[in-house]
């Protein structure tokens, strides 16, 4: 999309083609314009917003000045008018425009910055607004409000909008017609309703089907490969499971013994230090959490970023020390163990992370990443046995022998996550904590990993704590759900109850904010 506005950085190059912009009767090819000419289109007739709003603002200039600059560039005469800015900022639903005008970008929250960027893009009432993943990285509730804002601005200012997103739910909410792209090529195009109801290409189908549903639960998710290989996606495997069998499973689990008990767990971080190193302000990341996990159960923890769910995960693994409270694994308080006992216990509790790029040592081949884990906990195995074990583990997570000697940068995101899973299960843990482990993956890969995790749960008798911000993924994976907000548990229960009939205000808001199709 940057190419339309001639913003491709060298060595990239526009190879040909044209981008015609028609204003009333006049049509111009944007790509043939000189630098000066195109600059008069940018921000004036065509506005653009994108993700990472924090980086998009100059960090050493105040927001107000940067906004004014956008006006003055195209309207040299216009006087610096604070009222105008104030109106504009209230137009994008910023509550305290005066303070925002006088702030630097790092002082504002992600949502506020995104609004400021929208304000900057619409400041000269453009005819076209290009929105490139504008809500990626925002929380669901913020995303909802930003989307609503864009929607209303679109009709108010009579703009056309090009909305780019990987999230079909968002597209369904925003777009009138859709273009599906894969590897730089357009795969499919048409009216939104048509495409969602009746997708033609396998790729579009996979995009639609691979996303777990929030209202119903299936045994498996169909993936792009399934479609390519003509797997019957109408088989029972992919059909929603009957409520009856869900309830039965929950009943069985209820009678199992507790694997993990968390009592009164609290943790706070020092944000700022005073003059003499004494903490002057603290953030309570986790506040008095109590939870139980049954053997074989998958417990989902939902919350927005900053709700303390990742801190909870690292406390459960004793990777950080708690301020207060206890975590008991099979009746044993892990905070009371000494270093050596804890190291032995680590075998039983494993974790996989969201950050597939960072979770593997870039200097280590797949084999040695797993090998290290085996060497620590199975010192009796010799080199050959370990290698065989590694290969069988990789096969178990859907990789092949050729992945054994690869470095992380030679693997795709999905493959890396599989290696992480292989490493985690190599120790035959009883509890697997998945911390946003599919959030950074494409929908289709996400479906593959989720299928894999469910298979492993059944094959290895794993219990899981599944942490995610995505309710539909949680619904697919979990037997029970906890909803967290600012370090506290807001609501907990079975998915069918919480998702159909939320009790708390916050849960309701969260559910309403999910874009759906």
């Amino acid at each position: 999309m940057l190419s339309i506005l001639q913003l491709i950085e060298s060595p990239g190059e526009v190879k040909g083609g044209s981008a015609i912009y028609c204003d009333q009767d006049q049509c111009t090819d944007l790509l043939s314009l000189s630098e000066k000419q195109i600059a008069s289109y940018r921000g004036n007739k065509i506005g653009m917003i994108y993700q990472q709003a924090l980086a998009a603002f100059n960090p050493v200039q105040k927001i107000g000045r940067q906004l004014t600059e956008a006006i003055k560039t195209h309207n040299a005469k216009s006087a610096e008018n604070k009222n105008h800015l104030r109106n504009l900022l209230s137009k994008v639903e910023i509550k305290n425009p005066d303070r925002v005008i006088d702030s630097y970008s790092h002082q504002l929250s992600g949502g506020q910055l995104q609004r400021c960027m929208i304000a900057m893009a619409i400041i000269n009432s453009p005819n076209i607004l290009i929105a490139d993943e504008p809500t990626t990285g925002l929380d669901v509730i913020t995303q909802k409000s930003v989307l609503q804002l864009l929607h209303s601005l679109k009709s108010k200012l009579n703009m056309s909008m090009i909305f780019i997103s990987h999230d079909l739910g968002v597209i369904a909410e925003m777009a009138d017609s859709v273009v599906v792209m894969k590897d730089g090529v357009i795969v499919e195009r048409g009216k939104t309703l048509d495409i969602f109801a009746n997708p033609k290409s396998n790729y579009t189908k996979a995009l639609l089907l691979a996303r777990p549903n929030i209202t119903s639960k299936s045994k498996r998710l169909p993936t792009f490969d399934d479609l390519e290989n003509d797997v019957d996606i109408n088989s029972d495997l992919f059909k929603p499971i009957e409520l009856q069998s869900i309830l039965e499973r929950q009943k069985v689990l209820l009678n199992n013994s507790n694997l993990l008990e968390v009592r009164d767990l609290s943790k706070s971080y020092v944000v700022e230090k005073g003059l003499f190193g004494k903490p002057s302000s603290q953030v309570q990341a986790v506040k008095n959490i109590n939870l139980d996990l049954k053997c074989g159960e998958v417990l989902g923890i939902v919350g927005e970023s900053g709700s303390g769910k990742s801190t909870l995960a690292s406390l459960i693994l004793n990777l950080e020390s708690a301020d207060k409270g206890s975590v008991s694994f099979k009746g044993q308080n892990i905070f009371l163990l000494d270093k050596k006992e804890m190291r032995t216990l680590r075998k039983d509790i494993q974790i996989i992370f969201q950050d597939v790029g960072g979770a593997l040592d870039p200097k280590m081949k797949t084999s040695s990443s797993i090998d290290i884990a085996l060497r620590i906990h199975y010192p009796s195995m010799d080199k050959k046995q370990r290698r065989d074990k590694i290969i069988s583990l990789l096969k178990q997570v859907g990789l092949t022998e050729k992945h054994v000697d690869r470095y992380p940068h030679e693997l795709s995101g999905g493959e890396r996550q599989r290696v992480c899973i292989a490493r985690a299960i190599s120790l035959q843990p009883q509890l697997l904590v998945c911390d946003e482990c599919v959030s950074a993956l494409d929908v289709s890969v996400q479906a593959q990993i989720l299928n894999l995790l469910l298979d492993l749960r059944d094959d290895l008798d794993l219990s899981m704590i599944f942490i995610s911000h995505d309710l539909s993924v949680i619904n697919f994976m979990c037997d029970r759900i906890l909803i967290m907000k600012s370090g506290k548990i807001v609501e907990q229960g079975y998915p069918q109850d919480i998702l159909q009939n939320p009790q708390e205000e916050y849960t309701r808001k969260l559910l309403a904010a999910i874009p759906s199709f």
Binding site: L319, M342, R346, A359, D361, M364, H377, C420, R423
Partner: protein
């Protein structure tokens, strides 16, 4: 580990490796390249290897040749001889040739013709021989000084970057007691009551006892702010004007030998390495693979050795390469000022400093300076290459 092959793949890397190995060869075989003695000779029908013999003398295994009779090799009529390319030793003052002979001027000396390839200095010492012998001194000073600063920098870097302010915990009273007794122990040493070894052993025993007991004591726990302390130390070292302190120190010592020079330079230059290692460890520690390693039960030592060091190595090597250049420059500057090694020790800097006394002897300015320059460029090239490799792999 960064292989030489990877460095060789870069144009700058090729130059760096080429120049450095060139100087390394010179340093290793200095005695065979520049020496007043023949490498091989036949005298009175006997075959001798005088240069090799010199090593034997140095080790005290062999005595001096008796037939020399305090004569120099030039005064003997040898039947056959292979001389080194440069027929001078660095310190050897040539009475026969005039001072300041121009490059490649040759003259008869006893039974042989000798050539000052790169000219000679004010008292007839050969410049080429000085550069060759100086290579060995410069390289060994730079190498061992960097080794010392690496060791110190490594320990402090790991302590502050990996352990930081919040991992070494101990009982507050145990800590205060420990400090008290350590001071007391070294007090005994400073007033000559205890020997150094005894004080060292006592300190060691005391520290291990406290670290063993402290977790069992409970009570009020206290985090040792290692990072804070080390950062302050680095800051103070950063604001020490290295050249001035070095000069003052050398003035006090007045006759420094190579060993003291190495120790002083090494101690003055550790802070950069510690700082880079600390920053690198802090950056790496944020990565999830470190958390994963903890989660699979790796010990601190395993995490440092298996994950942190291999990943921090490229940037560390880059700093070391640049630090090497800096050390060479520092050593050359003090020799140039005439405050470094004693005047008899010929180094690159000391030859260069003679150029100030006679502007017409251009060779005294050009050749030793070029040697310093080449070595510095090579180290910088190496640093650039390592940096480039590091950037590409990230």
């Amino acid at each position: 580990m960064i292989g030489l092959k990877k460095i060789w793949a870069f144009r700058k890397g090729k130059w760096a490796l080429g120049i450095i190995s060139f100087f390394l060869v010179i340093a290793l075989f200095a005695d065979f390249i520049a020496n007043e003695k023949p490498i091989y000779c036949k005298y009175n029908g006997e075959i001798y290897f005088p240069v090799l013999h010199e090593y034997g003398e140095g080790l005290g295994l062999l005595g001096n040749y008796e037939f020399l009779n305090n004569k120099s090799w030039q005064e003997l009529q040898l039947e056959e001889a292979i001389f080194p390319i440069i027929k001078f030793s660095s310190g050897n003052i040539d009475q026969n040739s005039s001072a300041y002979s121009r490059p490649s001027s040759s003259f008869e000396n006893g039974f042989q013709t000798k050539k000052h390839w790169l000219g000679s200095d004010s008292i007839g010492r050969d410049v080429a021989a000085g550069i060759v012998q100086g290579t060995r001194k410069t390289l060994s000073i730079a190498f061992f000084a960097m080794l010392i600063s690496c060791l110190i920098g490594f320990v402090f870097g790991v302590l502050s970057g990996f352990f930081g302010d919040r991992s070494v915990r101990m009982n507050l009273w145990a800590f205060i007691g420990l400090m008290f007794f350590i001071i007391l122990i070294w007090f005994q040493w400073s007033y000559n009551h205890w020997s150094f070894g005894l004080a060292l052993i006592a300190t060691f025993v005391l520290i291990s006892a406290v670290f063993f007991l402290s977790p069992r004591l409970g009570g009020r726990q206290f985090y040792l702010p290692l990072d804070l302390i080390i950062m302050r130390m680095i800051e103070v070292f950063k604001s020490v004007p290295a050249l001035f302190i070095l000069l003052a120190l050398l003035a006090i010592i007045s006759k420094p030998n190579i060993f003291t020079l190495i120790v002083i330079i090494g101690i003055l230059r550790w802070s950069t390495i510690a700082r880079v290692l600390r920053a690198e460890l802090l950056r790496l520690k944020e990565n999830k693979f470190i958390t994963s390693a903890k989660a699979i039960g790796s010990t601190d030592k395993q995490i440092i050795v298996n994950h942190l060091l291999p990943n921090a190595l490229p940037s560390l090597l880059t700093v070391i390469a640049f630090g090497f250049a800096g050390t060479i420059l520092l050593e050359a500057s003090i020799s140039f000022l005439g405050i470094g090694l004693s005047a008899e020790e010929v180094t690159w800097g000391s030859i260069l400093s003679e150029a100030r006394n006679n502007f017409s002897a251009w060779w005294l300015a050009v050749f030793p300076g070029a040697a310093i320059f080449l070595m510095v460029v090579a180290c910088n090239y190496l640093g650039d290459t390592l940096n480039e490799i590091n950037l590409r792999s990230n």
